[in-house]
Symmetry: C2
Subunit: 615 residues, 2 copies
């Protein structure tokens, strides 16, 4: 670790933007078939090459006439003219309108020679010796002249126009069958790190493998910005392999992004390749998160090295790289991607760095937006979906106070706050009930932490399990019972709590904040009292009592994997995973809402859903 | 025309919505590969099937220790322990941390057995007999426990979630390789009308052919709403052929749309097929435009017959059908697709019908939105791009007054008002200059009408050609000269104005509102004075003087097509089309802006662009 790179002279955000803007990542013009043009950006002006319509066109069903033959006609004194022919849409007129004659015509048909107007069918009557016309028309009435819609030579669509259904309509009217559009910049994505595995492939957790998150997150973000993503295979931390890959990607792409590894050595290798084989323009940026960001060139291609943690990589991509991709693709910045809200809590900063603080949104009882920081640790992928956007915090800011107004830059323009923000115990019935709610957000922080957060005022509701003291003013929306106990591989070997204490079974516990753990400890208290000992004597005798896991299925899955003999869990989990179960009792799951939030649509929807449970 | 259908008992908008909502067009669940899931809507809840991370993971580069071995260590009294091994990311630890020993560890690596914390590398020093640790750590420090990000069994994403880059990240972390998404409803589009030709195919204007606009506009709108469009071949007005096609489409699609023809007989045939072979639920709606809309079923499929005119078809689609397609696809309604502005002019209504008035948007000098009606005649395809959205006008409204506040439902959420709204003469140099402006809109209404509209106060600027009296307070942004005259097939046959008057050449003129026509008439005045006759004597002698066309290239194109011998036009047009040219003089093209609009970004951009012209 002696060659570990230090990031000095961190570039401020404006410099990062300037350097990125100076890189050329714009591809050339691409000609696409008309049918594929939707969503693309016109590269060149399209002028009309023909008149639309290409002929004088009847705009009503009726009769083509010489207007002067109708002068003076009205209901009282109609004019009758002999019918000399018919013109339908899509056929060349076979007849001419001689003075004093009349020709039947359909909407959209070519006005026959001689005619200069159309009489609406409603103002005529078929009579024995022809057509009786009961109105006078002026030349041009009910006729759309050739070129009246758009005329040959007229400017139809300008360069930079985004092709939506409306533009598709105009292009089709002009008969355009190939459309010159801005090319999509190709963006190569290189993931580094021996530990990364592609989704769909088997994962060896014991060997520290994890699924690759950044490649796919970034690929999707690149495509959202109008680029075309190209994923390159994972490589390890080998200099030659990385050099080959970077050059291959640079040859094939307008921009190369690397990301994925959090290991310093992989970053070091990339750093050396770019420094030796390309040009390193920026090394470290004064943005949190994002310090280890690199910007440079490799061959003719631009290069950006993103931080390894998913939320950091996506944040830096959105803030600095996406505008470059959009600009190269000719896509406009997304509209209205900013909302204003007030901070739900106070955030303090000790370090003077420009921050892009990931935040979640929730509406309070008055429908006003509350903004709360999301921080599960920067390595968490769930931060990606638990946050709705970022708040830019200038370096000189010491704190954001609760109630302070902040602007939130949304992760995408169509982000909307969840209709319900719940926190607390995780529970399979709850998971199903939440399916009935449109856009819920639920953070499984356990019973104890859930209640604390509810009292702090950010979430709409907390879900508890086991014996609890809910906040005094909380409104109970309802609840249900669940059976809990020991999920076991062999129900004969561990047939109850006493067997766990007295035997040598390897146990897996839950954390102290969970309702399951609280019920277990209460049961241990009862057993201790029965035996006339301290609870501590019993817990010391359980192998693995201190081994806690994060969620309700985790102990059971350790049993399933053969890493333990018994796990604290639910009867429903044992059933789902096909394991044995030793019941230790039932506990109530309760849902408690903040009183001013019970009328929120998502909260009412969950309440209805709870009410519909079988008693 | 005796079987012509009358539309009686027109359904009000609410009834149209109700009937459409009662139709089932939702397809089933579709499983797509993870890489294709972006933009789709989750059909089922995704629970985590594994812990993320799957192991206790170092979140810093440093050294794995038993925390208790560091208790008491600080800068003044460091603890030194022997280094017994190394664990990199992506490998299974080959070493255990026995009491009093230390193991080097990379970010992301598996915490080796025995260790319960990581000391950051920055707080250590390599010394001869091991690693010197200068800080105390607590159990769990710099370790992300298994499942801390997301735990097996936890609810990860709910049904109805739209898959954006963030959700792609979470799905990849969970190793999901196939994703259950809502199917896209397939929407069949049938164009009727003998006159329709697909873009790319040759067009016979003399036979009244036009390019099919509705099929492609609707297909793009269907895909924008989350559906999958299927185009069916054109059919004529034959009952059996239409019946076969409707049944084929109904078999293959969730929803069938017909549109394209404005001919009453084609509509009649569809009407009969639906009435005889399906169920007709609504026949005519009380909405302008949209009266001839049909709603029904054919086989197991829903059916909507849309009006024939493009802007009408798209308006009815967006207002009534798109919500059904979005709902079936599980797509949310587009966010913030409404803006508020004030009417630029007064609109009066004589007929009590619910209206969806197509409108354009323009910002006034204060940056406030002005809303103006777009009405080029309902058959115009250019209305599609000249309008930005619609204003819903209730049946009981007699008029919308200038200055009245109205809500505009935008054609799509990313519609933004043009940065410049110009009107007036069309001119090839102007077309090029407008390429330098971001999102301009230009309506080629001719010099006379352009000046009138500028005085009325809606556009930012008017472009004139030839001798004009601009409004007194208009600001001239600049101008240029253009050479005008006769575009001819044979410059020897028609060598000037006198030859046109005295010979028998077939001429094509421009309309009286155009600057070209005004210059021609001034030249004829001069010739008449020279000859001591009235201008009328001369114009009567020109064959085709009364034959006017809509745009500056149209007369030249008639010459090119052999339909005329000479056309009023520009030197640049003759050159572009490879025709002969007889100059009759030069005329000035002038650009005049409303004084309070000169600072608008688009107007300044055009002014800079004019300034950059060669003098």
């Amino acid at each position: 670790m002696t060659d570990r790179r230090e990031f000095r002279d961190l570039a401020p955000p404006e410099e990062v933007r300037d350097v990125l803007a100076s890189l050329d990542v714009a591809p050339g013009i691409e000609w696409v078939p008309f049918g594929d043009a939707r969503g693309r950006i016109l590269a060149e002006r399209i002028d009309a090459e023909l008149d639309v319509p290409g002929f004088d066109r009847a705009s009503m069903d009726g009769y083509a006439v010489r207007a002067e033959d109708t002068f003076g006609a009205d209901e009282a004194s109609p004019v009758t003219m002999p019918l000399v022919g018919t013109v339908h849409a899509g056929e060349e007129p076979a007849v001419e309108v001689e003075p004093g004659t009349i020709v039947e015509i359909s909407t959209g048909a070519v006005l026959p020679p001689g005619a200069d107007a159309v009489v609406m069918v409603e103002r005529t009557t078929e009579v024995e010796d022809g057509i009786e016309v009961r109105t006078a028309v002026a030349p041009g009435d009910h006729v759309m002249p050739a070129g009246a819609d758009i005329a040959a030579g007229a400017r139809a669509l300008g360069p930079g126009t985004r092709i939506t259904p409306r533009e598709m309509g105009l292009l089709s009217a002009l008969g355009v069958d190939e459309v010159p559009v801005r090319g999509r910049p190709t963006v190569g994505i290189i993931s580094t790190g021996e530990e990364l595995v592609r989704p769909g492939e088997p994962l060896d957790s014991a060997a520290g493998q994890i699924y690759d998150v950044n490649s796919y997150t970034l690929a999707a973000a690149v495509e959202e910005a109008g680029g075309e993503a190209v994923l390159y295979p994972h490589v390890g931390d080998d200099f030659e392999a990385m050099e080959r890959l970077l050059h291959e990607a640079a040859d094939e792409c307008d921009l190369v992004l690397s990301s994925g590894s959090t290991s310093a050595s992989a970053v070091d290798v990339i750093y050396r390749v770019v420094e030796e084989r390309g040009e390193l323009l920026l090394h470290g940026v004064a943005v949190k998160p994002g310090k280890p960001t690199l910007v440079g060139t490799v061959g003719d291609s631009a290069y950006v090295g993103l931080p390894g943690y998913p939320i950091s990589a996506l944040t830096i991509f959105r803030e600095f790289v996406a505008p470059v991709v959009r600009d190269a693709a000719g896509q406009a910045d997304p509209a209205t991607a900013t909302v204003t809200g007030t901070m739900a809590v106070t955030e303090r900063y000790s370090e003077g760095r420009y921050r892009l603080l990931p935040v979640g949104l929730v509406k309070d009882g008055d429908g006003d937006l509350l903004v709360y920081p999301v921080d599960k640790g920067s390595g968490a992928t769930t931060s990606l979906v638990d946050a709705d956007g970022t708040v830019a915090v200038p370096p000189e800011t010491d704190y954001l106070g609760a109630g302070e107004t902040v602007d939130v830059s949304l992760f995408s323009p169509d982000v909307r706050p969840p209709t319900l923000l719940g926190v607390g115990e995780d529970d399979p019935t709850l998971s199903e009930l939440l399916d009935d709610v449109d856009r819920p957000r639920y953070l499984p922080v356990g019973t104890v932490d859930g209640l604390r957060r509810l009292e702090d005022g950010t979430p709409d509701l907390a879900v508890t399990a086991g014996p609890v003291d809910p906040p005094q003013d909380a409104v109970e929306l309802g609840g249900w019972e669940r059976e809990w106990g020991l999920v076991v591989a062999d129900a004969d070997a561990v047939d109850g709590l006493a067997a766990l204490v007295d035997g040598s079974a390897r146990f897996v516990n839950r954390g102290t904040g969970s309702g399951l753990r609280r019920s277990l400890d209460a049961a241990l208290d009862a057993l201790a009292e029965e035996r006339g000992v301290d609870r501590g004597d019993l817990t010391a005798a359980i192998s693995g009592y201190g081994l806690t896991t994060n969620a309700h299925e985790s102990p059971a899955r350790k049993v399933l994997a053969g890493q333990a003999d018994a796990g604290l869990g639910l009867q429903s989990t044992a059933e789902k995973l096909g394991l044995g179960f030793v019941s230790l009792g039932t506990q109530r799951v309760g849902v408690y809402a903040a009183p001013e939030r019970v009328e929120k649509p998502g909260v009412s929807a969950l309440e209805r859903s709870i009410d519909s449970l079988e008693p």
